[in-house]
Symmetry: D2
Subunit: 345 residues, 4 copies
Amino acid sequence: MINVGIIGYGYWGTNLVRNFFAAKNCCVKSVADFRPERLQQLERSFPSVKGVKHALEIIQDPEINAVVIATPVFTHFELAREAILAGKNVLLEKPMTSSVEEAEILIDLAEQKGVLLMVDHTYLYTGAVEKMKQLIDRSELGCIKYLDSTRINLGLFQSDINVLWDLAPHDLSILKYLVSEQPYSVNARGITHTENRIENIAYLTVNFQSGLIAHFNCSWSSPVKLRMMLIGGDKKMILFNDLEPTEKIKVYDTGYSYATDEEKKQVLVDYRTGDIHVPKVATSEALLNMAEDFISCIEQKNTPKSSSYLGLEVVRILEASTQSIRNHGKEVILEPSYAAALMHS
Amino acid sequence: MINVGIIGYGYWGTNLVRNFFAAKNCCVKSVADFRPERLQQLERSFPSVKGVKHALEIIQDPEINAVVIATPVFTHFELAREAILAGKNVLLEKPMTSSVEEAEILIDLAEQKGVLLMVDHTYLYTGAVEKMKQLIDRSELGCIKYLDSTRINLGLFQSDINVLWDLAPHDLSILKYLVSEQPYSVNARGITHTENRIENIAYLTVNFQSGLIAHFNCSWSSPVKLRMMLIGGDKKMILFNDLEPTEKIKVYDTGYSYATDEEKKQVLVDYRTGDIHVPKVATSEALLNMAEDFISCIEQKNTPKSSSYLGLEVVRILEASTQSIRNHGKEVILEPSYAAALMHS
Amino acid sequence: MINVGIIGYGYWGTNLVRNFFAAKNCCVKSVADFRPERLQQLERSFPSVKGVKHALEIIQDPEINAVVIATPVFTHFELAREAILAGKNVLLEKPMTSSVEEAEILIDLAEQKGVLLMVDHTYLYTGAVEKMKQLIDRSELGCIKYLDSTRINLGLFQSDINVLWDLAPHDLSILKYLVSEQPYSVNARGITHTENRIENIAYLTVNFQSGLIAHFNCSWSSPVKLRMMLIGGDKKMILFNDLEPTEKIKVYDTGYSYATDEEKKQVLVDYRTGDIHVPKVATSEALLNMAEDFISCIEQKNTPKSSSYLGLEVVRILEASTQSIRNHGKEVILEPSYAAALMHS
Amino acid sequence: MINVGIIGYGYWGTNLVRNFFAAKNCCVKSVADFRPERLQQLERSFPSVKGVKHALEIIQDPEINAVVIATPVFTHFELAREAILAGKNVLLEKPMTSSVEEAEILIDLAEQKGVLLMVDHTYLYTGAVEKMKQLIDRSELGCIKYLDSTRINLGLFQSDINVLWDLAPHDLSILKYLVSEQPYSVNARGITHTENRIENIAYLTVNFQSGLIAHFNCSWSSPVKLRMMLIGGDKKMILFNDLEPTEKIKVYDTGYSYATDEEKKQVLVDYRTGDIHVPKVATSEALLNMAEDFISCIEQKNTPKSSSYLGLEVVRILEASTQSIRNHGKEVILEPSYAAALMHS
């Protein structure tokens, strides 16, 4: 039985408490939030859970084995470091940290202390992403040529992170989960329509040396909500529309091949279009699956699906995207990383 | 009565002949195509039109007042120059030319010879674009903050131009028509999945000094067809979905304003969401409207909606996009242009 | 403060408890369910509420002012009668009773005892239905000519009531709420695909003497889920699609008028099609609005929106539909009713 | 080579001429229309075809082998009879005739004269219907339990036939083509909103003795256009949405089975929901396929897919639907027919 403490009882914190309640082999002991009205709400909904004001009351509680950190990103590093140093297993909300350096320090520290460090990239635990992973692993798509994601709506303007740090982690975690090739570089452009220099619309391209290209369109300023990802292989292609209640994944039996006509000096492209298949996907709650992966990986000393290595790689791309935006869209080469090498070894 | 000769009887040429037939005050005299089977097809469909093998037979025909050029882009400059020098009014298919330089030479030449030079940006003649123009001119959208266009499908891989030169002219002409501010710079990334180095997927960002951003997602390799443009103002926003049979334009009474909370050092953004309005748009055939604008501007010495200046500006952005792609997405500053200044004077 | 007791803690009972908890001026005292596992669930979720085994423990509790009955339809009459005789205000789930006779007896009894009797037709409390009511009351639709409803999906086959009694009450309550004219007759056909003679697909037409026609397509056996209603007036028409997350109501500025061409002995119909308007509708939870209407009508001795008279009229149509199905679709004339006359007086 | 004459050059006549032009082994010789402006239009579009004023000029032309009749329904019988008596093969537009009696007389006459009599139920020649036929013939759907069709839009109010005779033939021909069981009876209700007593909204139920039910919702008065058919088997179900540009047919791996729980006296229904499959369907023009079936069946003395027997069965249902509407929805038993027996022998 793992005793869990949760730091931060905002919108997502509520979901976390509910799901760790439902998860097997764990018990939610306490929740920390400095806002009294949030602790009152906690007491009404979960009278058995202790509400505390300070995060340290959780971090220093000897009965707690696992700390879940659901606070603003800029606080992740300090809180996670303290928790790891106190010997706790740690689950961080996405994005993992504010910088690659912070993420790498935490990973090293967790290895030294022999505790689990994990990041909550919830999407990886959805039936839809799991189905896409299966299709790709079974080589049904062939060689992946592109990934194109649109995640736009009228969103809350965050005051500490821009729209890419807010929305793209979902799609970047999917990219990292589905594609084993290391990205080579990024380009990004963004715009801010307020005075605080935090972009509310941004476009990110992730480039790979094989010719794969991944593109991310993120906006807090769209009157329509779209959650759409295209993944194109040379054998089949997938449309993942997360807003579809039942037909989330469509697999198009569509591909193209090409030949070079030496005489005409032309490349001839040949399309193949066939049936479309809409596989049934599991509908169990992703956040519960994530919570149970966290608990079970603590117990069995396993690496979770949404590992700290994957979390770091997401931060690496985000950090580079900020650098590219500051340089008017200039290409920023991603450094190869030891952790990344580990992840896919 | 304007006598029209059409050079090029491919897919689009057929539509041009049909619509110039239907247009007022003009007569389709002859069509040139070097492929005998195309001329046979012409004879079956339009027995009254003379089919000729060589473009010069049209350009040099003294009875012809207006020449329509519907051939591959790389031939536009030579054919148009010959026609203008022969004193003909000229309509060029989009994109106008292969380079800014070519476009500028043609514009100068047409002015010297006192003939009309026009580019067929058909979209400008649709009811949907006209309705958006009206809404913007009436200030219903407020200050325009972004334009975001997606034009993707399983498209024919062109052998002479990349996907941006093929598809983006539609959206760029709409951008130029709706927005009077001059674009400042572009960034573009693209990828080719064949051996001929012609990009089949590309992303283009057009940056403006006011904070407006325009983004164009173009692909020949998508299993789903999308023709979607979002235009966001601070008062209202538009979704233009060209694949909707009747509800092409949706106007969202949605906007955002912001205030700075000096105490908390935060920018507070306030959304307003209201009703949606789906205006009825004219359904007359855009290509016929374009043909009649051409004929009437010849007769009345007017500047057409889809002018050569606008066509030049589209080519200017495309040329810069190619330069940016060749430089791995680096920002390319657009030179201010005399013609552009004229267009909006 | 009204003390509420709820009989039946199934799927809908859970929603009722949650919403009466949230409603103003009331307190959920006890819940009755004969299934021990349901009472255990109740204790976990709402530790402050007393769970009891027998409905009578609620009906006879002197502290309880209002009884909510969320049990199978065949039990409604007995439970409601006991509760009314005990002087309680009563809220019945839809459909109100198994027969017109039962509903009329309950209405009389409630009047004699001076208590409120109400039926939970939740749809009447949605923003969408309220918006349609406003549009109709403001005469924006003109004279209403038809109502056409489709409510189909893969539904639980009920073992006591057929698909019309299960699904049509929603749409019939909307019909009765929006249209003041009394229906004249019904026709219905249905089919059962099991051995229990309970129809799983059925079609119902409600006829009016003015020429208005209303049609209801109900199925538990459709692989796609549809919740769609068209309401056609001679000035405007409405499409109500309850599955649309934000655009639930579309108002079409479409109408038709006709003239008789005496010479040609023809009726000439003239269409008018204009813009479409998508009004924003309130998104507050309908069930909470219903609960608060119940509490407030008890306190202020008012008639609720979803009155027992309206509930009776819904049962009247359902009873006639069963009679028509048993007679192979034969028209069944609806008796005029005193209660109905009252409702619209 | 079959020489074809076409009577009636209205909207559909134009399509017929164009497609018989494109069809193999035939030649369009002449077209009859009493309206001079239509004949002028014919000359402009098809200068090689002779335009004549009177139908008899075609019927009595010894060079013509096949007569296509595309005139209002009330004229079908007289024109077809004359043509058959003159020894011509005849193609009638749908619906075949105004009554079962007329259709039966024509069938007998054509057999006596040894000529082909065929009805243009174009839908049977679409890729979508052909795909559904294959799926059903391969028993993929299992036992067919229901067919539910919605065909509504803002339609031209016809002055001679009601909305069922206008729109339902499409769906009834599909029903007859896909389902071999003879229908047992019909119920129909309709309403007219003009003064000419011709229904503009109508609902038709076709009942079968096996428990299959088919329902048809037809309207000229809907602001939205729907062309949707559900076909439910106990193994799989189909959604046919004719307005979808590419995904016309969706096959749901969804079914239900039931068991009787003797103890609880309940029927327990068990659902199975699985993947969805969207087969690619042929996109060749249906009308051309129909024209070529007509020509080839004349040449080879075959029975066409859209035979006169099928056309008669459609008229039989329509005639019964009118009788049911006149009797306020009363069930009308369909007489078994000799021709119907032949069709499926």
